[in-house]
Amino acid sequence: MAVIRTIDLTKRFKDLVAVDHLNLDIEEGEIFGLLGPNGAGKTTTVLMLSTVIKPTGGTAVVGEYDIGKSPDDVRKLIGICFQEPKLLWVSTPWDVLNWHAKVCGLSTQERKKRVKQVLEDVNMWEHRRKNVHGLSGGMRKRVEIAKILIQRPKIAFIDEPTAQIDVVGKHKIWNMIQELREEGTTIILATNELHEADILSDRVGIMHKGKLLICDTPKTLKDSILGGDLVEIRLEKEATQDAFDELKSFHEVVDVVTVKPTNLKVHLNKVEEIVPKIMELFMKRNLPVTSISMSEPSLDDVFVHYTGLTIEEAQRKSP
């Protein structure tokens, strides 16, 4: 059953269409990864679904409530972890979380217990009395995530949970997000990090320029693109155009993606037969191969395929 359904959801900022007729169903109890390059409209979507900003067109149903008609009811179901931590500007982590828990209706006992537990879980217990101004970016983000872990809403919007957070912290937070889901929370995870979306999400949707390009399970998406195999070739020198063309002309080769001029990703079938031919092709043109590796496509490849951007380009496009 869909717990969120958007119907032509649209947001314009003057000339810019940040979210463009978005139609999306999110199932109850799933982790839904909302992917897209910078400026794709992920945060704007999340803000509209959580009734923080109003759509300029279309609508959405969250739980059983229309975001335009019954925003007060929607807000009782949801919790949001903002991309930019929104901490009360003169406060300590403990005060921020305690007040948040109070507003979300937790009893005094429950509140004390959970605030302590979660502060420990996100490794912020010893900093609980520090002024938030004195916290590092990653620490603030931890406090921001703690809000939602304490609240345990029916529907959680989590916007870039691990940006700025160190590797150990990342894994911890991923575990906590999964635990939250196991307790019954539906999670909408907006992220740039494809690896994060891949390991956490049941389904992902890729947004680009405000539109939803594709939406499915990570596995189906990875299988859907091109040939089943992926070969990554690194060359000593830049590949010439005719080498490139000949590579493409093999009928086993489905697509060639230039990651860098000296680094090609080839999607293909029958990898065992074709690799010797590829080696030969480059040797013939005096383009020594420094390494060749085979792998399954990752969500990065899906992303590149559907947005037409390389990851580097996508990151450079940031406004």
Partner: protein, 261 residues
């Protein structure tokens, strides 16, 4: 209803984070009172300007009380303005609270903070000028709460309509200036009227001073403590109208505007 209390708690916490600043402000108010009272006592002839008044101090103490109330109730605007600029209001808007509860909470919090800040000033005024009767005290507190809520509303409305901090500060300065000086805080209404009749002050300023809720607030305290001017229901009416206008405007503006930003 509970939600309104949570919002008030939030705003009170913020208020007390500025305890040093508040202490400084209140000492300045008190210093004002002393210096102005001493200096003015020497340079004005009380018989001439203040009629039956014994000293400028007696006249000015209620004025400073209202001044303090104004400055502190107006502080909420600065915080609301800062929140909008830093997008912290997105957080407030995402909480399980209705928009009305949020707006009313902010409005009342601003007013109550003003009342709290004003309490020591009011007590000092009572100490020097004498305590009012319980019923008079109730009227004074009720009227000042109306005033405080109106000021809080005025500042919130200004804060959300003018997001640029620079413009907000300028607007705040302008509001302060107009409301302080076109009022009976520093000089009695009777004097302003006389000067107006003699053509020494433009008529609009005279009218503004009469309608100014700060005048009504200060004069109301004076009417009970020093007997001049005479208490009139007009004072309460002015305050109630001011309070209603700005409470309503700010509630509407707050909700409408922050949802768009």
């Amino acid at each position: 209803m509970k939600a309104v209390l949570h919002i008030i708690e939030y705003d009170f916490r913020n208020f007390f984070r500025y305890k040093w600043w508040l202490a400084g402000l209140i000492s300045m108010n008190l210093a004002d009172l002393l210096i102005m009272a001493v200096v003015y006592n020497k340079i004005v002839n009380p018989d001439l300007f203040l009629g039956q008044l014994k000293s400028y101090f007696n006249f000015f103490a209620p004025g400073v009380t209202v001044l303090g109330l104004f400055a502190s109730a107006f502080m909420i605007g600065r915080e609301v303005n800062m929140e909008v600029r830093r997008e912290i209001h997105h957080y407030m808007l995402s909480l399980p609270i209705t928009r009305l509860e949020l707006a009313v909470g902010r409005l009342l919090a601003g007013g109550l903070r003003g009342m709290m800040y004003m309490t020591p000033l009011l007590l000092i005024t009572f100490l020097f000028l004498g305590f009012p009767s319980p019923s008079q005290l109730l009227i004074i507190l009720g009227a000042l709460m109306l005033l405080a809520t109106g000021i809080s509303g005025l500042s919130i409305a200004a804060a959300v309509s003018i997001t640029s901090f620079e413009k907000f500060v300028t607007a705040r300065g302008l509001i302060y200036y107009v409301l302080f000086f076109c009022s009976s805080i520093f000089y009695p209404s009777s004097l302003i009227r006389t000067l107006g009749q003699d053509g020494l002050i433009p008529q609009p300023i005279v009218v503004l001073a009469e309608l100014n809720p700060l005048s009504s607030g200060a004069d109301l305290i004076r009417s009970f403590l020093i007997g001049t001017p005479i208490f009139t229901l007009e004072m309460i009416r002015n305050l109630a109208i001011f309070s209603m206008i700005f409470s309503t405007t700010s509630t509407l503006a707050y909700v409408k505007i922050i949802e768009r930003k």
